[in-house]
């Protein structure tokens, strides 16, 4: 297993005192806490800092760790010297929300957390699921891989994989939870729903926002424009003299649910590239015949 350099993780010297260690941990915890800093990198850094602090804050564990550091080489495949754990008595590790620490920690520092009674206790499982916005409109079935903490004979916690397929009900909202009832042996699985980022659609509460590119003539003359929505293609009528940045509201076409929201199309006007002589002449005619100065009020005429 891989040796964990806890002093390096916290950025402290190996002879740092308790208050320096505490200060270093608190600073990292504040910076990388997953509730404040979403994203997998922050979570990894937070986990690493928590694990390092768990060992270095406890005098017994720290002594044992320092002895390990001094015991020998720490390259890739680290094995503790036999019988090393004798002479130390570790107190219980504070639990950390269903996630195991590194192999290094679990092998060397994890103490039996469950007594015989609790081994049989059924625990609910929590996870987050990323749902595509289209799934919300139609309902869908999604495969999920859960990390389940599992205890072996000697009381060590390992993460096991559990695969299941879950039905995403139509109209589920971000922040809601889906409950999959356990079969008695395993507890319920509670999944927090989060929307996966979409290249085209941006959710905002119950509403959905998207950009709708139109040609200059469509914007100027108005008329029917085909646009995609998560529920399928829709023809909308844009008014004559539609301005760039104008928002068109499609009522009731936002995210479905108890309260269905609206879909907002943000107009962007896109010029065609001029690649032919005919194209150039069109634009030159416009330049000659349409007196329009968008910079009139900027004082440069």
């Amino acid at each position: 297993m891989e040796f964990q350099d806890y002093y390096k993780v916290l950025g402290v010297a190996s002879d740092a005192d308790d208050s320096a260690i505490k200060r270093a941990y608190r600073k990292l915890a504040r910076e990388f806490h997953p509730d404040v800093n979403p994203g997998p990198e922050a979570e990894d850094k937070f986990k690493a800092a928590s694990e390092a602090y768990e060992v270095l804050k406890d005098p017994e564990k720290r002594t044992a760790y320092d002895d390990l550091c001094n015991a020998g080489p720490r390259s890739g495949n680290f094995q503790p010297p036999p019988g090393w754990e004798q002479g130390y008595s570790f107190s219980e590790t504070s639990s950390s929300d269903d996630h195991a620490f590194s192999d290094f920690f679990e092998t060397l520092f994890r103490q039996q957390q469950y007594d015989q009674g609790r081994h049989g206790m059924v625990r609910d499982q929590f996870a987050k699921i990323n749902v595509d916005i289209e799934d919300v409109y139609h309902g869908a079935s999604r495969d999920l891989i859960l990390q389940v903490p599992d205890m072996d004979q000697s009381g060590r916690v390992r993460m096991q994989e559990r695969r299941l397929a879950v039905h995403i009900p139509k109209g589920v909202q971000e922040g809601q939870h889906l409950r999959i009832k356990g079969d008695g042996a395993a507890g319920d699985v509670l999944l927090e729903v989060s929307f996966a980022p979409h290249p085209m659609y941006r959710p905002d509460g119950h509403d959905l926002h998207m950009d709708l590119p139109v040609t200059p003539w469509e914007a100027a003359l108005g008329g029917k424009v085909a646009m995609p929505t998560p529920a399928g293609k829709v023809d909308i009528k844009i008014p004559a003299n539609t301005r760039p940045g104008q928002k068109l509201r499609l009522k009731g076409r936002g995210l479905p649910g108890a309260r269905s929201g609206d879909l907002y199309a943000h107009i962007t006007i896109v010029n065609p590239p001029v690649e032919t002589e005919t194209g150039r002449q069109f634009f030159e005619k416009m330049a000659r015949e349409m007196s329009f100065d968008p910079r009139k009020k900027m004082g440069v005429t």
Binding site: R26, P34, D124, H167, V172, L190, H209, H266
Partner: protein, 101 residues
Amino acid sequence: MKKTKLQTHASDIVDAMDLMELCRFCRVEQGWIVELVDHGVLDPDGPEQSDWRFYGYNIVRARKAGRLRRDLGINAAGIGMILDLMNERDRLIRQIAMHQQ
């Protein structure tokens, strides 16, 4: 290798939780949830504690609050401020994203 098709599990949307369910879900004691309600961090429906129902975003907020207390030792007042600031920050990020198109 034959690929086994996973049986799809039906799921209920958990729309609301009562006080006891929320405590179990967040692994905190009742007094802490009551404190969060007293500070306006959570706003359940219902007049009495026994009638309280925590909907949607309240559940997510309660879990975040529990983690912030456990991991960073922040009290209810501080958590309230942090969650409000984070909501505002996320709202601004969304606005910026819209204007960058």
